[in-house]
Structures are given as structure tokens and as C-alpha cells.
């Protein structure tokens, strides 16, 4: 058994610091550094770090090369908090998109971003999750109910609406900004 300190040990006040007061990296910081260094992006995705010294704030750009959203360019903002990876990063879609799982405010319904997040998941897992949303939009868990209904009832019309929105134009009463590559 170790004796951590003895009674003879004087008050610790006088002790001179052995190391400087260099700020230590937090566990969240160490973990995100690993996540970012190990990003293994599919060829349809890219990242942008406005400040390379801040690995906690960045953008992900997805340019699907197949499916309904082929030819579009969609930007997501990532904000990683101090409690990462205990809590997931906050992700928002900055591009207006006609999509059953993304609403017009940019909220994204992806299970691993909320209720199914686990600390073993990484930024890469989220990237693949988001990419999958563009390949397989899921009308079962809608955030944009109108889009989900159209997808469920008439895929042709849905496809046309997606193209209309990506080119820049109205779908229903909402105007979408152009987001073609």
C-alpha cells in the first residue's frame, strides 16, 4: 500500500512549481485532434477549417455523386463542445435543402446526432451518416413533413422537386437558394 503523504510533510505552500504553467489540453481537445487527424472522407465529402488552430469549429461539404441529390453542394456546420465525446457535436445544415430529414432551419434528424450518440462514435461516423441521408432520404422520420409525404406518394414528383430546389426556385411556397455545384 502506498503512503501518499507523510505527516512530516510540511505545508505545501512553499513548494516551488516543478513545471511551468503551460495550459494542458483537455480530454475533449485530445480526442477531437485524433478524430480530425483520422478523418477518412468519402470522395464526395470535404472539410473546411476557417481557423486551423480551432479544430472544434468546421464545415463539412457534401457533393453527392448519385441519387436524388446528385450535383448539389451541401454545407454542414459542426460545433464540438467541451463535453465531447460524452455529448455529440452540434451539426446544422447551412444549405437550404428540400429533404424529408432536414428542415428549413437546417435541423437534421439523424439518430447518432442525438438519441443514439455514443462516445465511441467519431466525426467520421457522423460524416457517413450525413452522406447516407442524401443517398437514402427516410420518409419514416420526417422533419420536413411535406417533402416526406411527396417522397412516399410519388417518387417522380419528389425527384422533380429536389431538382427544382437545387436549381434555385420555389417548391410550394418556399424559395430555395441555388446549390448546384
Amino acid at each position: 500500500m502506498i503512503k501518499l503523504f507523510s505527516l512530516k510533510q510540511a505545508k505545501k505552500d512553499g513548494e516551488s512549481p516543478r513545471t511551468g504553467t503551460q495550459k494542458k489540453a483537455s480530454a475533449a481537445q485530445l480526442r477531437i485532434t485524433k478524430d480530425i487527424n483520422e478523418l477518412n472522407l468519402p470522395k464526395t465529402c470535404g472539410t473546411e477549417f476557417p481557423d486551423p488552430d480551432d479544430l472544434l469549429t468546421f464545415k463539412l461539404i457534401i457533393c453527392p455523386d448519385e441519387g436524388f441529390y446528385k450535383g448539389g453542394r451541401f454545407v454542414f456546420s459542426f460545433k464540438v463542445g467541451p463535453n465531447y465525446p460524452h455529448e455529440p457535436p452540434k451539426v446544422k445544415c447551412e444549405t437550404q435543402v428540400y429533404h424529408p430529414n432536414i428542415d428549413l432551419e437546417g435541423n437534421v434528424c439523424l439518430n447518432i446526432l442525438r438519441e443514439d450518440w455514443k462516445p465511441v462514435l467519431t466525426i467520421n461516423s457522423i460524416v457517413y451518416g450525413l452522406q447516407y441521408l442524401f443517398l437514402e432520404p427516410n420518409p419514416e422520420d420526417p422533419l420536413n413533413k411535406d417533402a416526406a409525404e411527396v417522397l412516399q406518394n410519388n417518387r417522380r414528383v419528389f425527384e422533380q422537386n429536389v431538382v427544382k430546389a437545387m436549381r434555385g426556385g420555389y417548391v410550394g411556397s418556399f424559395y430555395f437558394e441555388r446549390c448546384l455545384k
Binding site: 480530454a27 481537445q29 455529448e87 434528424c109 420526417p142
Partner: protein
């Protein structure tokens, strides 16, 4: 008479500290000096002056500890008064740390509590290094992780061997309603907060599509307002502050509208407060048990009179009292405590970053593939080079031809290296050879 009083005041402690017994640690030496050590030399830090903190402070002070620092950034609210018994109605709005310290100092002669009305993050290494034991009664995981990281960063390694005199034990208490736990952490030696992070349940969240389209619970309505309506309407031009009644009121009104719309029952102001602030009602008796257990562990560590809890005690006092103790295991690849800073010898102070990269890739005991390097320079995170991410690579490429000194690195500086060959980011300490080069040249 005064000394007689002092003698009688601690007579029960003397029985424990001045006699040997079957449960004593082998290194325990019965002595009258131990009591004096507790009152005069043993420096404690109590983090948090809330429900647990009040109990801890009272227990420790009445156990003979005389040198206690107390840190808490909160102020006293009406709703605290049922269990945070060091505070009175007139104290509402004042600093918890300051009022609690004043109360104890007045009530228990000989005990000196020094309050710090600030965040734990406002204090530096020199502050934390002065303590023998740190006791935390926190309700936040972020704060726990922070103090855990701080105590680990105070560890001293010599040739990879932990210098035990640099270990500051942390006794951590936590309560949530009728559940609680007490644990003993010897940073670097036993499981730390980060080792057992998955013991903390994640915050309850609901699928976004459920709260957006098919709410069934009042909580769904509150979450909807919190997650979707607030950022959209931004009613007060700021993030939600759970302590601002105006904010809570706004959220209450909006979620009520939504509850009516979906015919959902049971939405109350208190529930809104609970969901927004993520409050689980505090139970005074749970706090009392956990604080007592923590204080006992502090006493055992400080006096060696008995072996420590090994190392995690769980309590549930909902139906009767259930408790068990187990040994939480240290995680081999823990992000916090498995980090023994490795030293990298730098032979030449004009060494460039690209040369350092080459060392990381070529040294037989490292053989890294694509190291990404960051460092903390003058208190700011800096990404020195990261090859794998195009947009970062572009912006950090010019660092490759700069010398380490030009990049702000000095003898003793730490760099963080992430690489696919290691499970975690590795911390490395740069050791510049004392410019033998220049001298030898002569």
C-alpha cells in the same frame, strides 16, 4: 479550561488516532501529532458549496480538518434553502462559497475556511498543487472532467515512473435524487473520471423527428421549444439561460401552446425548469450519506488510520438502503490518465518542424504514419501541421520549414501528436539538449 475543552472536543478522534487497531493500515503510527496535522497542515480543497458541499464542509470541519479551501461560482437561491443548511433567507443572492465559509468559521472555532467565489477553471496549476486532497461535490460532468484533467496534469513522471509525492487524491461524491456514489481516485494510480466516463448516463434526448412531428410527452413539447423554436425566434438575442425566469417563462408559454395543440397533459412550469436545466430533484438524505462517506475517506487518507475505499461505492436509498462497492478499473487507453508524457530529445534548437515529423516517423519506438501535431502556445491551441486534412494542410504547410523555436516551442513544451498508429492522441515533451552543439564546437 480552554485546553481541557479542546482536549474533550476531540476525545473521540484521539481514540482513533492515538491507539492502534486491527483495521489500521500497516504504515499507521499512533501519535498525538496526527490531530495537529489535520488542524494545521493538511490542506483540503472542497469543490462545490451546494447540497453536497454544505454537508462535506460541516463533516470535515467537525472531523478536525482546519485548513479548508472552498470554491464555487454559484450564488444562493431560495430553492437551495431546504437542504443547503449553511444558508439563510437573508443570504439569497450572495456567494455560496463566501457564506458557507463564514458560517463554518464562526460556528467551529479553529477551522479556517477560505472561500473562492469563481469557476474552478479560473484557478491555475499553482493553486491546485498546494492541496493534499481534493474533494468534489459537483453536479456537472464537464467540471469533473476538468478537475480530473488538472490533477493528472500535476503528476510528475521521472523516466516513466510516477513520482508518488505528486499524486493529489480526489474524493468524488455525486448524487442524483435517491442515487449516489462516492469514489476515491488516486490520479495516475487508480481509475479516473475519464476512465469511467461511460458510467455517467448521457443526457436524455428524444429523436428530433418525434419532437418535431409526433410529440406525445410534455417533455417533447419543451424540447421542441428549446431545440427548434428558440434558435429560430431568438426571443432575447442570446442562448437559453436556465436561471433567467424570463427565459423559462417564454419557454413555458410556447411549450404550453404546443401541448394544447397536440392535446398533451401534464406540462407545468416546474417541469419546464427541470427539463431546461436538466434538474433531478435533490434529496437531502442522499447528500448526507454520500458526504459522510466522502469525508470518512478523506480522514482515512489523511491519517492512514484505515484502508481506503476500493474504490467506488454506489448507494440507492429509494427502497430501504442498498449499497455495494466495487473496484472501477483503470482504462489502459484512458484519454486522461494513460498519458505519460514521452520525452523527445531535440539535439539542435534550430530543428525544423519537418525534421521533428521525420523523427516521429523514423524513430523505431514510434514509426508513425501521418502524425498531426498540435501544441498549446502562450495559452492558445495551435495546429502546427496536419497532413490528412486538405484545408488544414494548406494553411499549416508553411510551418514545416520553421524552427521549433520560431513556432513558440521551448524546452519542456508539450506537443500533442495524433496518428493512426496510436489509439489516442499522445502528449510528448520536448527536451532540448542544453545547446551542447555551440559549446562543443569551440
Amino acid at each position: 479550561m480552554g485546553s481541557d475543552y479542546a482536549h474533550r472536543k476531540w476525545c473521540h478522534l484521539r481514540k482513533v488516532l492515538e491507539r492502534s487497531g486491527p483495521f489500521c493500515r500497516p504504515d499507521f503510527e499512533p501519535s498525538p501529532n496526527t490531530l495537529q496535522f489535520l488542524s494545521e497542515n493538511c490542506k483540503l480543497l472542497v469543490i462545490g458549496a451546494g447540497g453536497l458541499g454544505c454537508e462535506l464542509l460541516k463533516d470535515l470541519a467537525l472531523m478536525g480538518f482546519g485548513q479548508i479551501h472552498l470554491i464555487d461560482m454559484d450564488t444562493i437561491e431560495l430553492s437551495n434553502l431546504n437542504r443547503q443548511f449553511l444558508f439563510r433567507q437573508k443570504d439569497i443572492g450572495a456567494s455560496k462559497a463566501e457564506i458557507a465559509a463564514k458560517f463554518i468559521n464562526t460556528r467551529i472555532p479553529g477551522c479556517h475556511v477560505i472561500p473562492h467565489f469563481c469557476k474552478i477553471q479560473d484557478k491555475d496549476e499553482a493553486f491546485y498543487r498546494q492541496f493534499h486532497i481534493v474533494i468534489s461535490g459537483l453536479d456537472s460532468i464537464v467540471a469533473r472532467r476538468w478537475i480530473n484533467g488538472m490533477l493528472i496534469s500535476l503528476l510528475n513522471y521521472e523516466d516513466g515512473e510516477l513520482d508518488q509525492s505528486s499524486v493529489i487524491p480526489m474524493i468524488d461524491g455525486g448524487t442524483e435524487g435517491f442515487k449516489g456514489n462516492a469514489r476515491v481516485i488516486l490520479p495516475g494510480l487508480t481509475a479516473c473520471i475519464e476512465c469511467t466516463l461511460d458510467l455517467y448516463p448521457p443526457q436524455v434526448t428524444y429523436p428530433l423527428c418525434t419532437i418535431a412531428n409526433t410529440p406525445r410527452l410534455p417533455e417533447h413539447c419543451i424540447e421542441y421549444v428549446k431545440v427548434m423554436q428558440w434558435p429560430k425566434e431568438n426571443p432575447f438575442d442570446c442562448p437559453i439561460d436556465g436561471d433567467d425566469p424570463q427565459h423559462i417563462n417564454w419557454i413555458y408559454e410556447k411549450s404550453n401552446e404546443r401541448a394544447v395543440q397536440f392535446s398533451i397533459q401534464g406540462l407545468t412550469y416546474r417541469l419546464v425548469q427541470g427539463v431546461v436545466k436538466n434538474i433531478i430533484p435533490a434529496v437531502a438524505s442522499t447528500n448526507a450519506v454520500i458526504a459522510a462517506s466522502c469525508s470518512t475517506e478523506v480522514f482515512k487518507l489523511a491519517t492512514s488510520c484505515c484502508s481506503s475505499l476500493n474504490n467506488y461505492m454506489v448507494l440507492n436509498d429509494l427502497d430501504g438502503i442498498y449499497t455495494y462497492t466495487y473496484e472501477a478499473e483503470k482504462k489502459e487507453d484512458c484519454l486522461a490518465c494513460s498519458q505519460i508524457p514521452r520525452e523527445i530529445q531535440i539535439s539542435n534548437s534550430t530543428l525544423k518542424l519537418k525534421d521533428l515529423l521525420a523523427i516521429l516517423c523514423e524513430r523505431v519506438d514510434l514509426q508513425m504514419k501521418n502524425p498531426g501535431i498540435t501544441a498549446n502556445v502562450n495559452g492558445k491551441n495551435k495546429t502546427l501541421y496536419m497532413q490528412t486534412v486538405a484545408s488544414i494542410e494548406e494553411k499549416t504547410r508553411e510551418n514545416l520549414n520553421r524552427s521549433l523555436v520560431e513556432l513558440g516551442l521551448r524546452n519542456g513544451s508539450e506537443i500533442m501528436v495524433a496518428d493512426s498508429t496510436t489509439p489516442n492522441t499522445v502528449v510528448m515533451k520536448l527536451k532540448f539538449s542544453t545547446s551542447t552543439t555551440d559549446i562543443d564546437m569551440l
